[in-house]
Amino acid sequence: MRKWIAIGLGVLIALWVALSAGCASGSKLQGKTDTAIHGQVKTAGSTTVLPLAQEAAVEFTDINRNANVEVQGGGSSAGITQLKERVIDVANSSRDLQPGENNGTLVDHKIAFDIIAVVVNPSNPVKNLTKEQAKAIFTGKITNWREVGGPDEPIVVVIRDQASGTREVFDQRVLGSTSDKPVQCVASAIEQASNGVVREVVASTEAGIGYLSHGYVNKTVRPVNLDSAPPDIENASSGRYPLARYLHMFTRGQPVGAVKSYIDFVLSQKFQVEVVRRAGYIPIREVFKQ
């Protein structure tokens, strides 16, 4: 009996060692490893940027074995504060610096562009909404499509959950919501937890309207123009389309050493195309090309 227990344990331990060795390198970008870059990079901040930062950290440390990147959340504001207090090296942010927040040392690295499209079902004839109409629809003041030139049907509003960065931008820019005076969406709005599910709901509900990250728009939903501006890069970066923002990584002064390599990596073509775009955002070079 004891012999079998020992053999069983031995097999389990062997399996565990084999599996953990196999799982060690999960890098999506296969590259040569580099041992020249070394040091610690501490980052924190926006939870919107967090998935990008985490993916960058994993792949950066896979390629640069002597470097170590720490990524945390906490929110854009917390990240910027910690950066100024010299607790971290890079602050991830989904918003610009507020006036007075830059103490003269912060350098802005824009790493992605996020356009939020307001979408409706393809069968909906409405093609344009003013910002006031959009706000009225999402807060429940306008309840029927015929009030904005559509068919006689009650509007089904689809929004994101409280943790969503997309919702944060939408609430601020379209609803005028601030942290002191938040504006709530209509109580009967369908709340879903991801861009993909919002898209599915709007695609299958004829009277539906919702918002999602530009990268998630496909043929199953149709984006509407806001204030006659279509949600494309040109109008968004010029400011004519109101629902857009940059994703930032701030540093204290110009970055050097491992921090510089990390930022360069995030801005590299490969990362931008393979990770940033897949997350639904727009690679930063495509904006600067305008």
């Binding site: 002191d180 879903q192 709901v201």
Partner: protein, 293 residues
């Protein structure tokens, strides 16, 4: 181990079993204490009246203290969807159990039983997904609403609760003494009269337990309900309303909830725990009566 005397190995076995049991009890106690402790900030800052009896749910993610956290809407959502599910699942479940025990020939009974066991084994997220792609559009077509809402959630809950109710009711009916049925038939009763007037009343306590356990399953269901109920914060005034339940609210909001907001979600979990405990106490009361009989 074989070399030791019977007395020693008996002691070790008892110790191991006692440890296993204590782990379970300890876990439940710790979970309850943890949830209670985490809800205290909400109870204190929002107040019992506003927290448990207000329908104003307006959280503030960046400034939690400035939000409103009334969970009455979701308590009502839980009760409404569970009630709607039970109204359909109870007759269906007990009917299926009667069919399995009294009416079906052996081979058919076996097949139906396998089918019900398979139904019980389907993960709730798969059932919710089917609800999302099949049920919701169907309801939208029939009623002209968005399809999401209490009705879709109740139907999904029926699928989740049905196997529990059916198998337990069938077990209860099987455990009834055969002499009961024989006596009834001997007196000239028809099959339906036997079932209706003799067997079902005799199985009453067991059937009640089956329904209560099915209800417990329905109240705790999260994934499947979250996909079809709409997760709105509106109070459900009709079966076609979109609303939320306690469970779906927790899973939708726990992502970035902090401070009082997070504590309010724990308070919702506390309410769920209390409901579960009430159900279990109910079962204990019912089965105690049954044992006496």
């Amino acid at each position: 181990m074989g070399r030791l005397g019977l007395k020693d190995s008996d002691y070790w076995v008892k110790l191991v079993m006692f440890t296993c049991a204590s782990v379970a009890i300890l876990a439940i106690l710790l979970i309850f204490l943890f949830i209670f402790r985490e809800s205290i900030p909400a109870i204190r800052q929002v107040g019992v009246g506003n927290l448990f009896f207000s329908t104003n749910w307006a959280p503030n993610v960046s400034k939690p203290e400035a939000g409103h956290y009334g969970m009455l809407t979701f308590i009502w959502g839980t009760l409404l969807t569970t009630f709607g599910a039970m109204v359909i699942a109870t007759p269906l479940g007990i009917g299926a159990a009667v069919f399995l025990d009294q009416i079906a020939p052996d081979r058919m009974a076996r097949t139906v039983r396998r089918g019900i066991e398979l139904l019980a084994g389907i993960p709730s997220v798969v059932i919710g997904w089917f609800g999302l792609i099949l049920l919701v559009p169907a309801i939208a077509r029939v009623t002209g609403s968005s399809g999401y809402g209490v009705i879709a959630a109740s139907m999904v809950l029926v699928v989740m609760a049905l196997p529990t109710i059916t198998t337990l009711s069938a077990e209860t009916l099987k455990s009834l003494p055969v002499t009961l049925k024989e006596a009834s038939v001997a007196m000239g009763a028809t099959r339906w009269q036997t079932i209706h007037k003799v067997l079902l009343p005799a199985a009453r306590e067991g059937l009640l337990i089956a329904v209560i356990l099915g209800m417990g399953r329905a109240i705790g269901e999260t994934m499947a309900v979250q996909m079809v109920i709409g997760n709105a914060r509106a109070f459900a005034l009709s079966p076609f309303s979109r609303t939320s339940t306690l469970t779906t609210r927790i899973v939708t909001d726990l992502g970035e909830a902090a401070g009082v907001f997070r504590s309010a979600l724990f308070a919702q979990a506390l309410v769920l725990l209390v409901i579960a405990m009430v159900l279990i106490i109910l079962i204990r009361l019912v089965s105690r009566r049954r044992e006496a009989w």
